[in-house]
Symmetry: C2
Subunit: 396 residues, 2 copies
DNA sequence: CTGTTAGCGCCTTCAG
DNA sequence: CTGAAGGCGCTAACAG
């Protein structure tokens, strides 16, 4: 039914081994036969049988990319960047043969010789959507392990909590043991894997400091899902900034520093916490903003877990008749493309998603030297735009 | 090094064939042995060798999803929907799985332990980013063919033009011949493949009609990349609406119907066309809006190729000090999540991206009967919101 | 129900 | 430089 390597060999009048050698290009073959084989391949429309080749060679050209939400540009940008690095081989005289793409130039890559490690073939970069489910994450990892994937890149926040962390670590260990390279991008490190982690804590801290410096004292925080590492880290940064200014995390008003949170239960009504958790989406931002302003109408600034959430919060504020940033300042996180276009342009923290993804891709292919210790921290950059300003005058 | 099926067989004291049978679950096995095998699998942390199994069975559980831009929610939503249908099996206990739909015996693998080790059957849905390059599209198709993918879903607009159309058709034919199911989602049909096409022409036409009905007569059109089918179809719909109202496509002002475009070359200066092409992104929308208003300051409405482009146009208008929709109305297309949140909320055409993607996923797995003729047209729904209104009074 | 027997298509020594 | 031979790990008929 389907044409095999043997068919090509017959057509070209050579042995299967020779065809194999021509195709994988990692072994000297006479230019004449080489051409003959290539033509036969073309004539027959031959396409290598991946499974068979993977079985025999004990490796495949599959590279898996796991994302939490494929509909979110945050992941789309990283995934796209990772894939962009999976192209055919290295810089010079790119030899992208492939069954179908005949010998590029007259002599293709003949004289090039081993310009590097090996004319690495094109990788099949593939993205898998976990939908934020730790369960599905593990499942995909197993599926990828099954395929003997060459590498796996896990992006975005991980599920927080010991059990999953442990199960993931075990899985990663097995993958690595099986020869699969594992890279984490925008995630906390895991033993055995290379990691590019974002400075979520630092970015969040500087963002809140920016607000405090402007004079804000009643700052609401719209956090992401409670069980995610990124959520926790950003919140920690925020709280650290607050603490550094002597502001108790949940103080609703201008409370004196040092006030112990667990105060009198009945006499003085417990101050409502100014942190609300929700999903990383626009609707959550909207709802959370409403909730926070209900709890504490005196809020003058809202820090959102990410840009999408921030936009939802802006919409809520608008609907309440509040002006941004005159009445309330709002900040996001990530600096996704649309943030600069929002009205008003969002003050946020820029994460170099594309650059980080590209680097992760290179690491996954072993095309770049791993950072010392296997872990690198990616800096976040403050982007101050138009959604933040000093709070309204006290007696507004 | 790695544990194989034979190891498991030995550990369980059965033959490899038996292990294979319990793992694929498509053959009766005594409950006792079955349990023994499962335990051995678990003890040894065994994971099937995908390539080997694919080779032997002549099929794999890979399903490819091709998208033009993975960072664009338009594709992310469809891809996510498609993947959501690739789950383990169907709704009830019914276990429709295996390389082909196994008999799903009376109690198949019911009594299995806790979420068995490798409940298999799960398809590995995988998305590939072509970045809008016809070349890469073909390459990915080859890569997927190499892997003997079970199915392939191509989403979004196709490259327009005979050569690519033909090459694609040939590739699709080969894939289908090799047993891979091919589904098109949001694309024009291709022989041999099932297709779910969006009513881009109709949607665009109704959108422009909406504007004309409001009283607009000088309508600018911001089109997508010229060489894409979706671009062409939407533009055709727009022009059809214009023509139906007796408005020449490129008339800059209130021109009398019937005026022949190719008029006097020097005497009467050629009216500037009111259509500008650009990428499907926000920056293009911004630039195109500027360009159109430069060409024809009297424009009272801007029709954008999609929502993202429309938002860019809105930003441009805002920067020019124009109010939406008081001075200029703006429309989008697709109805992506953020469109309803824009300020003002965007009038657009809703494409049921998620539903279409889910259906495409089911078709790809053969879980749903194909539409008659293999092609189904997906209706687009007009969503009138706040970015459109009657044009300003004549003598504004 | 379970074991046995052949390959699936390709890569990879090992000769020539 | 090229051919011949063995086996990668698993599944799919056939026996029993």
């Amino acid at each position: 039914m389907t044409v095999t390597l043997a068919d090509v060999a017959a057509r070209a009048g050579v042995s299967p081994a020779t065809v194999s050698r021509v195709l994988s290009g990692n072994y000297p073959v006479a230019e004449a036969t080489r051409a003959r084989v290539l033509r036969a391949v073309d004539d027959l429309d031959y396409v290598v049988n991946g499974p068979a080749s993977a079985l025999a060679a004990a490796n495949s050209d599959l590279v898996g990319i796991l994302v939490n939400d494929i509909a979110d540009p945050f992941f789309g940008i990283m995934a796209g960047a990772i894939q962009s690095e999976m192209g055919p081989a290295v810089p010079p005289a790119a030899d992208a043969w492939g069954p179908g793409q005949a010998p590029g130039g007259p002599q293709g890559r003949v004289a090039t010789g081993p310009a590097g490690p090996a004319p690495a073939a094109e990788k099949l970069a593939v993205v898998c959507n976990t939908n934020g489910s730790p369960e599905r994450e593990l499942t995909y990892l197993t599926l990828l392990q099954r395929q003997r994937a060459a590498a796996v890149v896990l992006t975005g926040s991980a599920a927080d909590g010991p059990e999953h962390t442990e199960r993931l670590a075990a899985k990663v260990a097995r993958l690595v043991a099986a020869g699969t390279r594992v890279v984490l991008c925008g995630r906390p490190p895991v033993a055995g894997a290379l990691a590019l982690t974002f400075d979520n804590r630092g970015g969040a801290r500087r963002l809140t400091e920016h607000l405090l410096t402007l004079g804000h004292r009643r700052v609401g925080y719209i956090a992401g899902p409670a069980e995610r590492t990124t959520t926790r880290h950003r919140l920690e940064g925020h709280l650290a900034a607050l603490a550094a200014h002597g502001l108790p995390a949940q103080a609703p008003g201008t409370q004196a520093p040092g006030t112990q949170p667990g105060g009198a239960p009945a006499a003085a009504p417990e101050p409502p916490p100014l942190v609300v958790h929700g999903a990383y989406d626009r609707a959550s931002g909207y709802d959370a903003a409403c909730e926070l302003l209900r709890r504490e109408p005196g809020i003058t600034a809202l820090v959102a877990a990410n840009d999408t959430v921030a936009l939802g919060a802006c919409a809520a504020l608008r609907d309440m008749g509040l002006s941004i940033p005159r009445d309330v300042s709002v900040t996001g996180f990530d600096d996704l493309p649309f943030s600069a276009d929002a009205a008003p342009a969002l003050s946020t923290v820029r994460l170099p998603l594309y650059e980080a993804g590209a680097r992760a891709g290179r690491l996954a292919l072993g095309r770049e030297a791993p950072p010392p210790g296997g872990v690198a921290m990616i800096r976040a950059e403050l982007m101050i735009r138009d959604s933040t300003a000093p709070p309204p005058a006290p007696g507004r």
